[in-house]
Symmetry: C2
Subunit: 574 residues, 2 copies
């Protein structure tokens, strides 16, 4: 495209992008080399002048950085024609311009002519070595392009100075005995990570225009949004030196952060869960890069690519169906197990632990999914550390099977599913008090995979101990339910696993109604227990009917009042 619009349009385009374009155009190598050298001298001088103006005169007016447009023939200096077809300065030179050298002597001849056009006899001595006067031309040591430490960022990487995440703990006197917005709590930790590393300038937070609305606004107590363009008096935390980089382009955020990590720094990408799919393809390439470079001995480990996915599928109260998609997790777990991690902390203290762990890790892609809404807190910091270190565990305080086998395992992963599971358990206590229930919560999704498939995978023995080998499991999962089957189909108790999750039913509706539409709410979970635990069924028809009536009551209420029933909004674990 750029080759076929007018010179004026091309210049306008780059001026519109904020650059000062310089053109080097032509096809005669000697002239072009001279022009390129002159132009490089010119733009280097401009770059230096801009830097001096900023550094010495503190003039931070957005500069027009120079750029060079090199317009040379495609396949320049290659064969003009191959097999009678135009090749140099044409699309064919972008393909494999010629091959089959063993069968086609004329192609071999062409290759020889091409290679001889570089005049190897002037470059190499009789023994085939590069001539001494040429050997001295290229730069040495770290100035060689191949040895530039910024291209091997791990060499430059300094550990982050991390405050103690325990200092940010929400006080949780009893499970459910406090409320908090998980990402706001995380925001205080991230603010202090920013603050502690301001002088080293090696930590940034990127994201679409949602840092504040995702409750990470505490960051603006210590830094600003990076902003080089015009400013007006009412502006809200915009400054050229800001270390939060916001732009409503997930692609740009991802590109910025990848470049930042690859050059030896640290960062966090906070994003609406549904829209992180925008960078699926970019994530693929980064994950592939990590896989391949793990086997290259001179590559030093780099900081992990950390995603916080919030404003998630279950809480799109104002946005609705278009903003609901928990499938990035499915996309991520297709990549090599040793570079990917997925965490679903159920509350603020577990989110603090996971955040700290991700910021310390190397050479990984960490996906953290956590909501921003006010919700009950389950774990005090000690419990959160124990729970998250294992990545999966029994909520003892919510289970009543300690003295024997459970009748049912209620499993959950994700903050909203955990809430609904616990609410279902509290209903079971009332309606089926003799039922033995074990509540298992999953923070580290990869624990579900076989140990041979993922380094965090539980051994079969540990998995069977938690999930039993023969009791029904009712699993409430944050995302698409079949992912849980995919991760655990080899487990002994898989035939008894019943998963609820998001099944692409959504609208602009109340938070609880989102659960109801996808059958993951407390009432459906109770109903699932009655259907699946042997010996319940028709003996408890009255409970199933009560559940059914509750769901009708719910629909009537939200249609009339536009919000959830008080018994839902005000529900507390006791």
């Amino acid at each position: 495209m750029l080759a076929r619009i007018s010179h004026d349009e091309l210049a306008s385009l780059f001026i519109g992008y904020g650059y000062q374009p310089y053109f080097v155009e032509g096809s005669d190598p000697t002239t072009m080399h001279q022009e390129m050298a002159t132009t490089l001298d010119r733009v280097f001088a401009e770059i230096r002048a801009i830097q001096q103006r900023a550094r010495q005169k503190r003039d931070l007016t957005r500069p027009r950085w120079p750029m060079i447009v090199l317009r040379s023939p495609k396949g320049w200096t290659g064969p003009k024609e191959v097999d009678g077809k135009k090749t140099e300065d044409f699309w064919r030179s972008h393909q494999v311009p010629f091959g089959e050298l063993a069968e086609k002597p004329q192609h071999l001849k062409l290759l020889e002519q091409w290679m001889r056009s570089y005049r190897p006899e002037e470059l190499f001595d009789d023994s085939g070595a590069l001539r001494a006067e040429l050997r001295d031309v290229p730069p040495r040591g770290a100035r060689r392009m191949s040895a530039n430490p910024h291209a091997n960022g791990g060499v430059l990487l300094k550990d982050l100075r991390l405050p103690d995440f325990r200092d940010y703990a929400v006080s949780v006197p009893t499970p459910g005995g406090a409320d908090a917005e998980s990402t706001r709590v995380m925001g205080s930790l991230v603010r202090d990570v920013m603050k502690e590393n301001l002088s080293v300038r090696n930590f940034r937070v990127v994201g679409p225009d949602e840092t504040a609305s995702n409750r990470l606004g505490a960051l603006f107590e210590v830094t600003e949004r990076a902003w080089m363009a015009d400013r007006i008096p009412d502006d809200d935390h915009l400054a050229p030196e800001g270390r939060v980089m916001e732009i409503l382009s997930e692609h740009t955020c991802q590109g910025w952060l990848e470049g930042y990590l690859l050059t030896g720094r640290h960062g966090l990408f906070s994003c609406y869960e549904a829209f992180i799919h925008i960078v699926d393809s970019m994530f693929n390439q980064h994950a592939k890069w990590l896989k391949v470079t793990k086997d290259i001995p001179w590559r030093q480990p780099i900081a992990s690519l950390n995603y916080l996915l919030t404003s998630h599928v279950w809480r799109q109260d104002h946005n609705g169906f278009s903003h609901q998609d928990p499938g990035f997790i499915d996309h991520v777990v297709n990549k090599k197990a040793d570079v990917i991690r997925v965490y679903l902390p159920p509350d603020a203290n577990s989110l603090l632990y996971v955040t700290d762990q991700c910021l310390r890790s190397r050479d990984l892609v960490n996906v953290i999914v956590a909501g921003k809404n006010m919700q009950p807190q389950w774990l005090d910091m000690d419990s959160a550390i124990k729970h998250c270190s294992a990545g999966i565990g029994i909520f003892e305080w919510a289970s009543n099977d300690a003295d024997g086998d459970p009748d049912v395992v209620m499993a959950c992963a994700g903050d909203v599913p955990t809430l609904e599971t616990l609410a279902a358990v509290s209903l079971l206590r009332v309606h089926l008090p003799s039922l033995k229930v074990r509540v298992v919560n999953v923070v580290d999704l990869m624990t579900l995979q076989p140990h041979e498939e993922h380094p965090h995978g539980l051994s079969n023995r540990d998995f069977d101990t938690l999930f039993t080998t023969d009791k029904p499991i009712i699993f409430a999962y944050h995302g698409y339910p079949w992912l849980i089957h995919r991760l655990s189909y080899r487990r002994a108790n898989h035939p008894n696993l019943h998963v609820r999750g998001y099944k692409e039913e959504g609208s602009t509706t109340t938070p609880f109604d989102m659960c109801v539409r996808n059958d993951i709410d407390r009432f459906h979970l109770v109903s699932d227990v009655i259907d699946r635990v042997p010996g319940l069924g028709y003996h408890h028809a009255h409970v199933k009917q009560w559940v059914r009536d509750k769901l009708v009551e719910h629909r009537e209420y939200i249609t009339r009042y536009g919000q959830d029933m008080p018994e839902i909004r005000d529900w507390k674990w006791t």
Copy 2:
């Protein structure tokens, strides 16, 4: 961004994009309305002039289409301040600017003032109806924005004129008795679809710069690549009226095609398999749109969104690991079952059938995965029609279990896995001649899902008939192997299902080595049979050793010669 760069930069940017920008800027409503009206008149006149120049004088020079830049305050005419905070002309007016009307009387007052600023007493009569003179102002019928038929494309949709796909059949005298490039055969059909509908102008093919390299080049016998910018004499099939739209931006291709379908036309998007992930998020929104509009009675069905994914994971001989990702299928099947279809035709005739079916369908997203490389053909057209109509079936000619139960089911989906499965079967014939093998090929991936989950899903009875309820199944699948588990975990014989597929092992290597690296090659499949069929195992240690030695021989050969062993390259089904 655009609000904070200079007027000159903004104008340059849009000139660089090829437009002629006009600016309407300010905040006084009366002045702005007048300016907007004047500007609209001006740009309408320009548009008419451009159209006339093209239609009457046949001057197809690329025009500079006019565009209007409207620069008005954000939240214009809304409250200047809410709770003492600046709101109009500020980011807050993009949020929920105020709420809690029941609890905050000052907010209710603000709302009243705002609404009264529209002077309802001048707009409505005493009974609350719009005044007659205003009722006459808006356009009527199809000129109403809400009733524009282009916004309900199904109203404008005309069926494609489709040639008989049978006419393009490859002659396949016996299974494996012919070779063809599947997408090149499809290209002849697509060429004639283009030709038959040229006069109606309602069919387009979009894609990155790969129409020819994906072997759909026959299209250029009847149309060109759409091209409005400068042309040079050597140009290859570029013309303003071209109906193939190529741009190396999958986003743009997807956007073009969505708009084209939504306005009542038909199309096909051909893409490298790995890079279709670039449009994951756009696909999501289109699939959600299809799901929601199916329930809107006045919305007429539109043509399906058809993807041809080729240059797929198994044949990236020159590109390697970065170009290998079969996960778009996983992404697609997360969406509602009644809008998505996935086809993996094993050869050219089955691809012809599937293409015809997709072009006839409505309101779906169809994903076709098919290779472009020369490969053996298995099905004559009659067989292909029978096989693809069912979507799944036994290759009788490759099976030897007709007179009793099979010892093993060899299942396959995708062209390369089908080839390797058949090659494995031919090895089994030689080395384990008494083994009863049933070969099941899957074209329509959704047949694997339970019938309750997808309209194409097989009933359990049919599934069990094909796959047995107790024999080992060795399944060679085109993509990530766990997807097959995810689709079939509820089936009776799932515990005996063993799937091979792409497991993120790749490089720039030979085609067969790609299979070997992912354990989906004929030798690994034979080895899987020995490991899993009861009663084989150590009795056939010599076959396993032969297989192991073959894999070493393969590695030695490709390291030395850079291509696959002759017995692999020249293998034929007999």
